[in-house]
C-alpha cells in the first residue's frame, strides 16, 4: 500500500462532502413529501367501519332484516345509531346487503311489505317499490335503486360497512 493511494485529494474530499450534505438535504426534503404521498395508503383502511352483522349460515335466498348499532360521534354528543339491512344470497351464491332506506324520502322499506306486490320491497310512505335486486320499479316514486352495503366475510361472519349508492345513480 503506497501512501499516495490513501491520500484523498482536495477535490475528492469536497466532492464527497458536498454530495453527502446535498444528499442529506435532499432526503430531508423528500422524506416528508413521500410520506404525504403515500399517506392515504397508510391509513388504517377504515377497518373499524365494518361491523359484524350476521352469521353467513343464517343468510338465505329470502331477504332478511338484520339490525346492528354503530357509535356515532358528532360535535355535541356521542350516540348509538341503529342501522338495518336486508340481506340475502343471490342466485350465484354471493351475498347482497341492501340499505332499507327508501331513495325517495328516506322511509324504511320492507321486503314484501305489501301483499299486492310479493317479491318486492315496499315503502309504506308513498308506495315506492323495488325489485328483489334493489332496483327501483319504474313508475313508483323512488328515482334510483336502494343503496348497497359494502360487505366482507370472515370466519363465517358477515361484516357490513358503508351503504353506497348504485353506480350511475
Amino acid at each position: 500500500m503506497s501512501e499516495k493511494k490513501q491520500q484523498v485529494s482536495r477535490r475528492q474530499f469536497l466532492n464527497y462532502t458536498l454530495t453527502g450534505v446535498g444528499g442529506f438535504m435532499a432526503a430531508g426534503m423528500l422524506a416528508p413529501m413521500v410520506r404525504f404521498a403515500i399517506d392515504p395508503a397508510l391509513q388504517p383502511q377504515s377497518k373499524g367501519d365494518f361491523k359484524a352483522v350476521a352469521q353467513v349460515d343464517e343468510i338465505t335466498n329470502e331477504p332478511q332484516r338484520f339490525d346492528w348499532t354503530i357509535d356515532q360521534t358528532d360535535a355535541w354528543y356521542e350516540s348509538e345509531v341503529t342501522k338495518s339491512a336486508w340481506v340475502y344470497k343471490q342466485e350465484d351464491g354471493s351475498i347482497l346487503a341492501l340499505s332499507p332506506v327508501c331513495k325517495h324520502l328516506g322511509c324504511v322499506v320492507s321486503w314484501q311489505g305489501n301483499s299486492d306486490y310479493p317479491e318486492q320491497f315496499f315503502c309504506p310512505c308513498h308506495d315506492g317499490r323495488y325489485y328483489k335486486s334493489g332496483e327501483n320499479v319504474e313508475g313508483t316514486p323512488p328515482p334510483v335503486g336502494l343503496d348497497i352495503y359494502e360487505h366482507k366475510i370472515e370466519d363465517g361472519t358477515l361484516y357490513l360497512g358503508k351503504a353506497k349508492p348504485r353506480e350511475g345513480a
Partner: protein
C-alpha cells in the same frame, strides 16, 4: 322528518309528500319529587319512541318538538284542537299525539286528532338489550297503527 334545520329545509321542498304530524305530549311537575323522576324517565323514553317512529316514516311524518304541560285540563284540550285545525289548513291530513300520560286517555273523545296512548314500561336501563327489543316491538305496533290511518 325532525324539527331541525336540515330536515325542515328538505320538508319545504317536498311538502306534498309529508302529510302527517306527530307531536309528543310530555307533562312536568316541579313540586313532587317522585313524580318528577317518573316524568323525566318517561320523557326520555318518549324521545326514543318518537325518534324511532320518525325513522321508520321519515318521508311522510313531521315530528314536532315535545309539547310540555302541567296537567291535562280543558285549556290544554282546546289547545290541541286548535293545533289540529291549524295543521289541517297547512295542509296536514293526519295529526298524531303520542303520550304516556293516561290523563289524556280520559279526554280522548274531545280531541279531534289521533291520540296514541302508550302504557309505560318501566325499564331500569334504556340501553340494555332487553329494553331495546321491547321498545322495538312497541314501536312496530305504533307504526302499524299509524299506517292503518293512511
Amino acid at each position: 322528518m325532525q324539527w331541525n334545520k336540515k330536515d325542515i329545509e328538505q320538508y319545504i321542498e317536498v311538502k306534498e309528500y309529508v302529510d302527517t304530524l306527530v307531536i309528543p305530549l310530555t307533562p312536568f311537575t316541579l313540586n313532587a319529587d317522585k313524580e318528577m323522576v317518573k316524568q323525566a324517565s318517561q320523557a326520555e323514553l318518549m324521545e326514543i319512541y318518537a325518534k324511532e317512529i320518525e325513522r321508520q316514516f321519515t318521508g311522510r311524518i313531521l315530528l314536532l318538538p315535545n309539547y310540555t304541560y302541567q296537567t291535562v285540563n280543558e285549556t290544554e284540550e282546546k289547545r290541541l284542537n286548535e293545533w289540529i285545525n291549524y295543521s289541517e289548513d297547512n295542509p296536514f291530513k293526519h295529526v298524531f299525539f303520542i303520550t304516556f300520560d293516561h290523563q289524556w286517555k280520559k279526554v280522548e273523545k274531545g280531541i279531534e286528532g289521533n291520540l296514541i296512548w302508550l302504557p309505560t314500561i318501566s325499564i331500569s336501563e334504556i340501553g340494555s338489550q332487553d329494553s331495546v327489543k321491547l321498545i322495538k316491538e312497541q314501536v312496530e305496533q305504533v307504526t302499524e297503527l299509524i299506517k292503518s290511518y293512511w
